[in-house]
Symmetry: C2
């Protein structure tokens, strides 16, 4: 048995969960890894706050220096944000401690530098909990898909937005209403921007793509679109067409060491797509590699226990798995997230104008040279799917339909398998 001293930075949802899990799983951890993790110091902001965990008062400090003096080999960072988290993580690494963190913003923005620092000090920094909560996606990529060239990653990486979209779709309720309820119940933050505007998903996508494509993309440069403009009417039209809308994060690489394209935004998925049925607060990641084909991982993307599970697994793996590689190509090209080329869902609200018949609509659009896959209408809107989309079509469509002043929403579609292709696809993969 090896005793390992742990310093905990933060005792909120994640920090508290980690403390409890180290207690409740102590015997399992000991049996399976021969390690005993002892929390020796806990850094918080407010010393006097009531805590949901018992017996920690003597460990609590507001002075980071005390943590490093407490005889710790590992520091778990569960504060969040970039400062002071970044400074503390750097100081821990420089002091020769391993670091485990759940902080996606920190790892997205400063991960490369922190990993280099860790390497130079012969320690490790692991961050499984920062992406997909309890889903072991970073570990899977690093240890079980490492002989594959990954060329595409698609993920539902934010539980709050997935929960909002699921409820909007099931109840026909508006974004504002569902968000307000979620905030009231504590499922969404008072300032929801990080979630609903896609920042959180962008951080996670940056981390995933760094590992998959070995390329470091500044988070500012990642195309990002949130879910604020999605209406229950749009979701109804989407469902009628046989799709689901998800806030999807996608990363693609075109050829080994080739250019990459990253995007976070509302995306249609055919209901048969493995990610389409990932509802509520579940997260999921779909990985495509050149030998394995595709692998999808689904699980709880946040919450005290799933996140603690990932942190505690990392804690053990510090002492049993080889350190992650860090072979970055410095010069990868970031392509603009393609608005053109792929299939696209187009949706228009008509207000009090007459709703055209879907069949006539198809004919008229085909008359101007567009390839329409399907069209539907609702009480006050129309929607259709074009096999190939180009932004220049916007004005063509509006003119043809006499809807110059309408708002036109267009969303990409992923994983389309049109009917005739589906059968052969199903057979091909046998």
């Amino acid at each position: 048995m090896k005793r390992i001293g742990v310093g905990l930075l933060g005792l909120g949802t994640v920090g508290g969960g980690v403390y409890k899990a180290l207690q409740s799983q102590e015997d399992v951890i000991l049996k399976r890894t021969e390690n005993l993790f002892e929390v020796r110091s806990i850094l918080v902001k407010e010393k006097q706050k009531e805590r949901s965990v018992n017996g920690v008062q003597s460990l609590i400090t507001t002075d980071f220096g005390r943590v490093l003096e407490a005889g710790v080999q590992v520091v778990v960072e569960a504060i969040g944000g970039t400062e002071p988290a970044r400074t503390y993580v750097e100081r821990a690494l420089k002091a020769g401690c391993h670091v485990v963190t759940a902080n996606k913003e920190l790892m997205a923005k400063h991960g490369v530098q922190l990993e280099r620092l860790a390497r130079s000090r012969k320690v490790q920094i692991l961050y499984e909990a920062s992406v997909g909560g309890g889903i072991p996606v970073l570990g899977t990529m690093g240890h079980f898909l490492k002989t594959n060239r990954l060329h595409r990653i698609s993920g539902i990486l934010n539980g709050t937005t997935n929960y909002i979209l699921t409820r909007m779709s099931r109840e026909g309720a508006s974004f504002e209403k569902v968000l307000a309820e979620a905030q009231q119940k504590g499922y969404a933050e008072a300032d929801p921007a990080a979630d609903v505007d896609g920042f959180d998903a962008v951080y996670k996508l940056a981390i995933l793509c760094r590992l998959a494509f070995e390329t470091d993309v500044p988070v500012r440069q990642i195309f990002r679109e949130g879910i604020r403009d999605i209406t229950p009417e749009e979701l109804e039209l989407v469902r009628k067409l046989g799709y689901a809308v998800k806030l999807l994060a996608t990363g693609e690489q075109y050829g080994e060491k080739g250019p990459v394209s990253l995007r976070v935004g509302p995306t249609l998925l055919p209901l048969s797509h493995p990610l389409a049925s990932v509802d509520g607060v579940y997260n999921a990641v779909h990985l495509e590699g050149d030998v394995v084909g595709d692998v999808t991982l689904v699980g709880r993307g946040a919450g005290e226990k799933p996140t603690a599970s990932a942190v505690v697994e990392d804690l053990c793996n510090l002492f049993r798995l080889p350190p992650p590689r860090l072979p970055l190509s410095e010069d990868s090209l970031l392509l603009p997230a393609g608005e053109a080329g792929g299939s696209r869902f187009i949706c228009m609200r008509l207000g009090n104008r007459e709703v055209p018949d879907p069949e006539q609509l198809c004919q008229r659009l085909e008359g101007i040279g567009l390839e329409v896959v399907d069209a539907v209408s609702s009480r006050d809107g129309v929607a259709f799917i074009l096999r190939r989309w180009d932004p220049s079509y916007t004005s063509m469509v509006m003119t043809e339909l006499g809807l110059e002043k309408s708002r036109i929403i267009s969303r990409p579609i992923r994983g389309i398998i049109f009917d005739q292709e589906r059968q052969s696809e199903m057979e091909r993969v046998v």
Copy 2:
């Protein structure tokens, strides 16, 4: 760079795939693991057979002894079946070679003994490809869920039967017709028993449950039911009720070191269940642990490339991950797969008798004290869901409906979340 000699037993679908993947991924493997795997000898049955891989003729032998003399540190077993595979694997381990195998029958029946032998010789035996093809489920359990107590595993573990059920359900075709077509195209074996009668899934379930519950269950003792009796009519009724039928393998453990219950058989899943939409040849495993909640892994369960991916990942991991643990409790109790207690789908063909109205049917069944969740009828059958089932209900139901000579089919339902529960479930997990 380390050169590692590999002996390949078998050059069929899996062996050929492994040979090709070691070539196509050579640079990726070298970059990420600093290993170079060299196939130095290949054992086959028929020396003169045409091979789908080039340049192997000089490596091919029909004498196993030659493989061990070729300077190999690892033997990949891709022959299948128990003999001579078992003898060869034992000889390889005794000669101090690591072994990687894709052979579920071998590992289900003799895994414990082979792992003990490996341990005593200070070598490893890895078998990721034996369960779920390209899905890294064994690795995930061993390395990323090891601090969790797993209490339930549910899997779609056989691609052939999932493909047959998917086509039957989509096309309304009979089992015999779809099977015959699948055989003609080479997607199902000439003797389909291993797949359609559930043996293959039983082997995989035994392996999964050994790792998850640390208990070794003889495959003969696992409850097993195949898919031969499923009709398109039944699938139609199931769909009308909002469910999908899958050949599901389930393992549960009641309390740490508690008794276990294992079962392979057709099972209904609500369409919102993460496994319900796993179609075609895809496999999936749903794992439930005490900290992580649940994690689902989906991917291609068979085929040359996905299986080769798993074997090649194992090959690399032999030299970089700690050996799997083997802490078996010798005395676990195997419970009979429960026919009673849970919710159940009941389906009857009526032949030329009159089909009762579903609402009346509910009332009549409730009249005799049964709790009916839902009922539907088709042209020549009825089906309903009972919240709790007991085998003694069979005769009660038949008598009440005046259907004494009908055949009654009953199937368990997993992961039911009835409507009023679903909402709170969704919120609970945030």
